[in-house]
């Protein structure tokens, strides 16, 4: 098989890892910018890897990082050059095929989730996220949204927090007291 063959004719958006996105002889919107970004980032990392220990010794902590970032920079450079020579796909636009509004909105949700997780606590943030996300995507009534999102949150919370005792950020809810309360109740019942 042609080693440069990428994906099949129907899938250009990288549906699965085995069928990567992109076209063979054309470049998608934003592809060149991404390749250039990778090249520049690799060069910066190469510079940073040099800073670890320079050319001190073959066994220096910076030896392998320097080698790998060099490979990154060279391969990203080749990709960028090749991409630059390709024609742009005329049927696709950045806002329609690569970064539609929903995706941007969801990336925004995730960033907010990450920032609010520590101060607000897991339970509140996750509840808000699920309610808003399911409401936006499913476009169904509030009853459905609340039932599905809170129901699944309870299951996830019990599995991770209670069964696997993962200490998810408690935030402003007195989660530990809540669990202890039930523990006491259960141990009381046992007597």
């Amino acid at each position: 098989m042609d080693p440069e063959f990428r994906g099949d004719i129907d899938h250009h958006d990288g549906t699965s890892d085995a069928t990567p996105g992109g076209y063979r002889e054309k470049r998608r919107p934003g592809e060149l910018a991404f390749a250039l970004f990778l090249t520049l980032a690799s060069l910066f990392l190469l510079y940073s890897a040099y800073g670890i220990s320079g050319f001190e010794a073959l066994s220096a902590p910076g030896a392998i990082p320097m080698a790998t970032t060099l490979v990154m920079a060279v391969s990203a450079g080749i990709v960028a050059l090749r991409t630059a020579r390709l024609q742009r796909v005329t049927t696709e636009t950045l806002s329609k095929d690569i970064l539609p509004v929903t995706v941007i909105v969801f990336i925004g949700f995730l960033i907010v989730f990450g920032l609010a997780l520590q101060p607000l606590g897991f339970v509140l943030t996750a509840a808000l996220f699920l309610i808003v996300a399911i409401k936006v995507l499913a476009k169904r009534g509030w009853g459905y949204t609340l039932a599905v999102s809170l129901g699944s949150l309870v299951v996830i919370w019990i599995v991770f927090r209670v069964v696997f005792t993962v200490l998810l950020p408690a935030g402003i809810l007195p989660e530990a007291e809540f669990i202890q309360f039930f523990r006491t109740l259960i141990s009381k019942g046992a007597f």
Partner: protein
């Protein structure tokens, strides 16, 4: 003979049998949820089973281990999100099958082949443990390094798109693995003086982000699309199907046992190496690799379950863990008053046979539970996308946090998720990134150990490579595989074949 009968302990005590069963069942689900790892479950079990006897405790742990390694394949096939690192290769061909509505068949084959691989692993453990562990001990740092290089060459078969992009992705993975304080000298690498970067980037966070979050974001673009109806009638593969893949599964099980038995390498590397092996030896797959080839499921699944038996070999014979889970089990044995080490086989041989019995039982339970619960599992993919996408995102966040109780890992996970989303759109393969992260430490640490041992002298290093038969074999394999991936080789092959025909 009497000690050998300990192999039957599990069957004679209903309580133990039930515990192995419960463990296996739980393991399958733990393995299937990205972020819940077997390592985590087993270490929690240590405090949980603290006051128990040693046999019930070990029964439960063995069950979870066996079930968990297998369970990772479920979500890999159904959602394209590997539940555990050892299932990364399974997603390559399993997910395309699910997209065609053949998830039931894919899970069926996976289950039977996992059982088969598990069985081979247990057999080798039972019959040849001392020899394998002796062989595993002979691996020197330079051999581990060559093994890592061999692994990195898998980039070729993992990148179904452009080779250059695959190389970039692989190198990126190695660089990601180097972030944080270097474990050998504690030098800061790529930390940019941020304290939160000192701990490095958790490999699980990268995996969940790249596969879970980027998958969910991609799916957002076709929320409205109707889910593929899954055929679940032909789950148990026919005998002739199994027979067809028998030779391949024997080879990949061998890979699994050996990689599993080596201290420091586990089921994840074994599965990827087996996938690569299958791709090399299968000349004419019915369906091409990456599109849902059966061989692409058989190879990694036999290998990762065979690696379970393999990982127990150094643990039982030398008291050295074969992977993270066996490391915790050694701790558990200590707590229960046993002293795992080379003397365990001599002092308490019945423990050895008991564990083999428990592993065997867990393997059978895995087959039973694996083939029966498929209907409920496939329902997951038939759920409306508007619900499943937010849930995947939430599980990704919880999972990334749970690995190390670190909010930093969540940020990394989200970052790599968005980055992976762009990589997919522009045809950069994600598999090599994960491969790079997995192999980064193996390559880096052992390269440095090897060259330090030779006092920084490359001449002495190569002298060592050529005078040791093991290193020599590995080195030749590296060269051959490397050459076979360059255009030069294809040209030579063409000319040679032209002459002979």
């Amino acid at each position: 003979m009497e000690t050998f009968l300990a192999i039957l302990t599990v069957f004679t005590q209903p309580e133990l049998l039930a515990l192995v069963g419960i463990g296996t069942f739980a393991g399958i689900y733990i393995g299937a949820i990205p972020g819940l790892s077997v390592t985590m479950a087993v270490s929690i079990l240590i405090s949980f089973t603290f006051s128990w006897d040693v046999y019930p405790a070990i029964s439960l742990m063995v069950g979870i281990y066996m079930g968990g390694v297998y369970g990772g394949s479920r979500t890999a096939i159904l959602l394209n999100i590997p539940g555990a690192p050892s299932a990364i290769a399974t997603a390559m061909d399993g997910y395309p099958m699910a997209q065609r509505g053949e998830a039931g068949q894919a899970i069926g084959v996976t289950t039977v082949m996992s059982f088969f691989g598990g069985l081979i692993g247990i057999l080798v453990l039972a019959l040849a443990a001392p020899f394998v562990s002796e062989f595993a001990l002979t691996f020197q740092p330079r051999d581990y390094m060559l093994l890592a290089v061999l692994g990195i060459l898998l980039v070729g078969s993992l990148s179904s798109g452009s080779m250059v992009k695959g190389i970039f992705a692989g190198a990126l993975g190695i660089a990601i693995g180097a972030v944080g304080r270097d474990p050998l000298t504690f030098t800061e690498r790529f930390t940019f003086d941020f304290q939160i970067m000192e701990g490095g980037i958790s490999f699980i966070a990268v995996m969940i982000g790249m596969f879970g979050v980027s998958e969910a974001l991609i799916q957002l673009q076709n929320v409205g699309m109707k889910a593929v109806r899954q055929k679940i009638d032909k789950i148990v593969p026919s005998f002739s199907t199994i027979k067809t893949y028998l030779p391949l599964s024997l080879q990949t099980s061998t890979i699994g046992v050996i990689i599993g038995a080596l201290p420091g390498t586990g089921g994840d590397i074994a599965a990827l190496m087996a996938y690569d092996h299958a791709k090399r030896v299968t000349k004419n797959p019915k369906i091409p690799f990456g599109k849902g080839a059966m061989e692409g499921l058989v190879a990694p699944e036999t290998a990762n379950n065979a690696a379970v038996g393999g990982a127990f070999i150094p643990m039982m014979t030398l008291g050295i863990p074969g992977d993270a889970v066996t490391a915790i089990m050694i701790g558990a044995l200590f707590i229960h008053g046993l002293n795992p080490g080379p003397m365990l086989m001599i002092d308490q041989p019945d423990m050895f046979w008991f564990i083999i019995g428990a592993l065997f039982t867990a393997n059978i339970f895995m087959l039973i539970f694996g083939l029966t619960g498929i209907k409920i599992f496939t329902k997951i993919v038939e759920m409306p996308r508007s619900v499943i996408i937010p849930l995947i995102l939430l599980l990704s966040i919880v999972g990334a946090y749970a690995v190390n109780n670190s909010i930093t890992d969540v940020y990394w996970m989200l970052g790599f998720g968005v980055f992976g989303y762009f990589m997919r759109h522009y045809g950069y393969p994600l598999g090599p990134v994960i491969l790079g992260v997995i192999l980064s430490r193996l390559l880096d640490d052992n390269w440095r150990r090897a060259i330090i041992s030779e006092r920084e002298d490359l001449g002495r290093f190569f002298h060592g490579v050529f005078t040791s038969p093991l290193s020599c074999v590995l080195f030749v394999a590296v060269i051959l595989i490397f050459v076979s991936q360059t255009p030069l080789w294809t040209a030579i092959k063409k000319r040679v074949f032209a002459k002979t025909s």
